[in-house]
Symmetry: C2
Subunit: 408 residues, 2 copies
């Protein structure tokens, strides 16, 4: 064996997920999948690699810059998936007959961005999206918000709010003396109200050339803004859908990527996790039709999966028993092998995840392995009986196979 | 809306999976995952993109040629994942403290190969691998074979066999007058025995310069070869593990990628599906240590996921009821909306996947949608009652919400 003399490392922004974290990811994905399916959403998978011309020009100059692009062996210009929305637009155009509208899909795949890596920014990361394509109704807006709230509940979040606004709230800014070219920066600044407070926002607006009086008037006008008719309909539908009204709040200063959205917008605020929103979305009626050549309405949201995982970790929401059905069968002499293998078989039939130590080893070594692997139970096979050892408490007792898994 | 004037298409060898096929893929993955976990295997995820120097040189000249390689924005030479074994070798070297041996992992991720596309050959495809790292024992060989057999059983396969051989069988070929340089081609030819028959194999061997008599003697010797001691131990362990002995067959002419394997090798034969083996594996004690600089024994197998899916389809093994818990709630006037939304909520609580038509539409249009989407049941909301329509039989009857899901 000659050692391969390379640096053993991953690329910056790319991650390995070892078993402990991969199991947690799987738990979250399984939970979300169940919620999505329960509302009639269907899975979609698209390739990691697409023709560059499909992807470029859709995410602005910044997006094009951050895209992984290269020329493949056949001379084709290709790019790695940047998000899941443009591929959805392609799918909607490409399979018009196979996919009757409304099309409600969820998608859970990795996307790739050549970001400057920093805390919480990765170059390969999982996106979890749901979208309803082909419907304009407030009912569809309400449904994606309901799915978001229900997802968070199922994951164990308790003190959270979905903040909701209508992009239409910003349409009359020019009536308030804001010139068209200033609207994006004004909206982006106002979006920070909840975070940095009124005073700082006004300061920033003035720095950006907005008259002090106008800035104050604008904020006061927004703050006293009543829910638009569409928002009223959405809130009413959410209540009929059984979503607790305390979970949804109209916030007229919420902005989010204004150029993209055309109607309702929303994001999530969680007590005890203030790094940023773990999910956000809205209505965007001008994007999904881009390849089809006709308007196709759409509303949906994306989880920032890494933030979601971080929030779950921060709030200690992962079930303690993700690993609880695991058991190691230990035996110390080869004449006990058959008994051990039979026991493993029986326990598996009963739904226990059962492994056996696969080479000759002392009992001590096997227990040490279970400890390192955080396997909660070891069943020691003796000639005359089985001893169940609880690895956390250290407690041991003689058991029969029949009494498992109840004894765990 | 200006139509984006590009060809709406995917790259050759790259596929979209629309809901019907994505659901089936998910069913297979969930089933396999449960089996793997039940034997104590743990999930691992590694990046799609790695430093090129990690991946190149490990798959031979052919592999290097088929690898997707490019230079990223930061000038780093990178490559897309070619398989899951070299990344596993990297992980084993990189996280020696976090991953005590034995390390039993499963991995289900896409890999990328710039293959000539042809029937069943793709450039992006899912690999499903399990491996046991760090153990030499026949018990570990037997365990991966047991997991393979159990996986196939759980997926619904009935008439299949795991064909098993020991690479050691080919070690004494030079004693039989085969020169060292001829061994690879001789082994590859012999591997075809079951497929093309003895006569054709001898013909091919002679074409390759092997003396006719020697070729015949060689085949006869192999055919009468008894299981090696290691194979005997593996078969005995499999029987103790509760694997029906009819499911495992010693086949001394089985060869598989000889350069890579160092001990037991195996693949799957399925009655009614003869396109090729849907899974194969073996022991390879000289590869996983390549980055660590010391020998690390390993045994495992990979499913050819696309072939597995094709075999399931050919043998009609997908459950008919993958979709059976789905229901569409239809209503035709807006004053029934609240009743419909409440019903949807109740049914979801009962574990039914329930969707509601999200825009104003005639009952006819809603039924047509359910039909196109192959939603098996529609619950029509009336002022005074609910009508359950079985979309396949056309049968309709008045039901109460309380009687669902039993009525389905």
């Amino acid at each position: 064996m000659i050692k391969n003399m390379v640096n053993v490392q991953t690329l910056k922004g790319f991650r390995d997920f070892l078993p402990t974290s991969s199991l947690k990811r799987q738990f979250v994905l399984d939970t979300l999948r169940k919620v999505f399916i329960s509302y009639g959403f269907e899975p979609l998978e698209t390739p990691a690699l697409e023709y560059e011309e499909i992807l470029t020009g859709k995410y602005g100059a910044e997006g094009d810059k951050l895209m992984y692009k290269f020329t493949d062996n056949g001379g084709r210009k290709v790019a790695l998936k940047y998000d899941q929305t443009v591929p959805l637009a392609r799918v909607v155009a490409q399979y018009q007959n196979a996919l009757p509208l409304p099309f409600k899909r969820y998608q859970m795949q990795n996307v790739y961005r050549a970001e400057n890596t920093q805390k919480g920014r990765y170059r390969e990361f999982l996106q979890v999206d749901i979208d309803i394509v082909g419907v304009y109704s407030p009912l569809s807006d309400a449904e994606v918000i309901a799915v978001l709230a229900k997802s968070l509940e199922k994951l164990g979040f308790k003190n959270f709010k979905v903040l909701v606004n209508d992009r239409k709230v910003f349409e009359n800014l020019s009536d308030r003396g804001i010139t068209d070219k200033d609207i994006p920066v004004v909206v982006r600044t106002i979006d920070k109200l909840k975070k940095i407070g009124k005073e700082k926002v006004i300061e920033e607006l003035v720095d950006n050339g907005v008259d002090n009086q106008k800035a104050l008037a604008l904020i006061e006008a927004l703050e006293s803004q009543k829910p638009t008719p569409k928002i009223q309909e959405i809130l009413s539908a959410l209540s009929k859908m059984g979503i607790d009204e305390k979970l949804v709040e109209f916030l007229p200063t919420l902005a989010r990527g204004l150029d993209y959205y055309t109607g309702v917008i929303f994001e999530v605020e969680i007590d005890g996790y203030d790094v940023g929103s773990i999910a956000g979305g809205g209505r965007y009626d001008n994007l999904i039709g881009i390849f089809k050549g006709s308007d196709v309405p759409a509303v949906g949201f994306a989880f920032g999966f890494d933030r979601l995982m971080e929030a779950m970790e921060t709030l200690d929401l992962f079930p303690k028993d993700l690993n609880s059905k695991n058991i190691l069968i230990a035996f110390s002499t080869s004449d006990l092998e058959e008994k051990a293998l039979e026991a493993a078989n029986q326990l598996r039939t009963k739904g226990l995840n059962t492994q056996i130590f696969l080479e000759d080893a002392t009992l001590e070594k096997q227990l040490k392995y279970a400890d390192k692997k955080q396997i909660p139970f070891v069943l020691i096979v003796n000639e005359d009986d089985f001893i169940l050892k609880n690895m956390q408490s250290g407690e041991q007792k003689s058991v029969t196979l029949g009494s498992l898994p109840d004894e765990l």
